[in-house]
Amino acid sequence: MPENPVVKQMVFPPEVLARIAPDISLQRHLSVGLRPSLRGFNEFRPMEVSEGGLNDVGKNNLIGSSVVKSGDTRVICGITLGIVEENSVDKILSLTSSAEDDSLENYSSVYPVVDISRGRSGAPTDEEMILSQKLYETILHNKIIDNEALKVQVGTKVDNDIIYPDGSGENDDLLRPKKNWSYTLYAHVKVFSRSGPLFDICYSALIGALKNCKIPRAYIDDKSTDIRIPVRSRGNFGHLRESYNLLLDTNYNENLSIKEAGTPSSYGIIDVEKPVAEAGDEDDMDVDQAPAATTVLLADLEGEAEETCAVSKINIISSKDSLKPLKHISIIGGGSRITKALLKESIRIANLRSEL
């Protein structure tokens, strides 16, 4: 009878094991109290936000920008402007219905498009779409940008002078158009060298760019006027209406006033198998003796292994305000159990970070 083939134990160097069995490699790291990136469990990567780096370069349409660096990851965020004519009917309705000052209708957000460079072209990925939407919602619900801040101060150009309504005061009402306009903010967020979940870094980039946004005034060129031309065609009546030609006046720039945005912190939660008792030798293959697992909090996930293994996640945005420190919290379960103690710990660390 042929002998049973001897199963030889295979040995891989750590970096190979990390590629072929990320989960095992991660567990081995965590069981000795280290992460693959050699950070501590609660250690965040430092984040370097430089605001306004791109505003003065080249001929671009940016009104605000930021470049953020965290670990290897770099994020470039640029903010541009659009103009929307306000619907006066909506405005009257909203004035009568919502008396509260703090309702969501009084706040705006930016429209971000996140673009992660990963060597592929084509339609945006799920991650990019979800991240863009989440950034939009978070900024809106954190009530960072007041609608008032985005109102267009419309002036009128008369003989090369631009008269603004808050100016001399005499001809204010005479020259002021009946229509109202407001700005919309667009953001483009370009990510290089992604190495983990991106919400924290993108949020910081967006807030950094918003902080140095310069909102210009706009004026109506005297060439265009408000003309209504009645049109009749095949029994239908209508009006052709010439719209105002709004031009931006970059000589007047006001900083966009934004409210406190808070500091984002994100965590992954993962079970760590306790190392088999020190006494047991290495090739102990006893399966019955299941090692007791502890659940730990990993701050600021990095690398493929951590991202795939830590399914449960917590996202917190906390502010300096000591009365209402929590601005946003999202909890995604499905992996390890998120206990009350873990949640408390994550909030404690997030609050500590916001105080820095």
Binding site: V57, I63, I76, G82, G119, S195
Partner: protein
Amino acid sequence: MNVTDRRRLLGPSNAKSANIPETRTSSPSKRSEDEIRKMFLKTGLVGNANGSAYLEVDDTIIEVSVFGPRPIKGSFIDRASFSVECKFLPHIPQPNEETFKNQSGSASNVRTGLTTVEQKLSSYIETAFLHSIILEKYPKSTIDVFVTIISADTTSSSNKSLLNLCNWVSNCTSLALVDSGIEVKDMVTSGQVSLNKSTNKILMDPDYSNNYSEDDSVDCVCSYMNMLNDVVVGFWIDGNQDDLDEQTMQKLFENCNGMSKKIRSNFNSYLRGTIE
């Protein structure tokens, strides 16, 4: 008709774009005619690419990532396929963009697909580098180059500033290829010059943002493999091309070659520095 893009957040549909008018006034440059602007180089910044390079020259900022050789699915091919995609960040205005812009995509935070300008740049880089890469070494794989223009001084009407951008993009790409370790016959470097037809003077690396708008100039970018007998792998001529004769071409090419050699020697010393 374009169907509304539901994958991206484009904001309200009735928004109009608000472009900030040009207000910059710049002083004429104090460089001598054959002086190249100072540049900042850095390779290997992008972690998840096989090779990358970052370059800053004045207001031009370019990032190039090389992905590959990556395996392809499907049938066997005996040499690697090579592709280049060159994109501007969406807020940077491109020459003649207004003419080709489709009205539906008015939001200024997104550009889907490649514009004609981006296609032109991509195809220049692709043809110039195709000759230098030893594709036979990488069967059944692809090599993809992604160029991101983070900032550029492209004037709105003239194509000439594109030539200068094209020059720096090709130089940056060649550094990124070296960083990726893909085998090449030689590095490709380029030069870009402008010949003023009335004064017959050559200007190296002209700064088009500095109100440099001589209508009567012919401009040329030309790419070489300098260590391989100065083989020309690509050129692009723009500007006033009336009565373009052999003599003028000779002059343009000679000066481009001179500039490309200067850049090559700079790159060589940079790369030597990265090894040490």
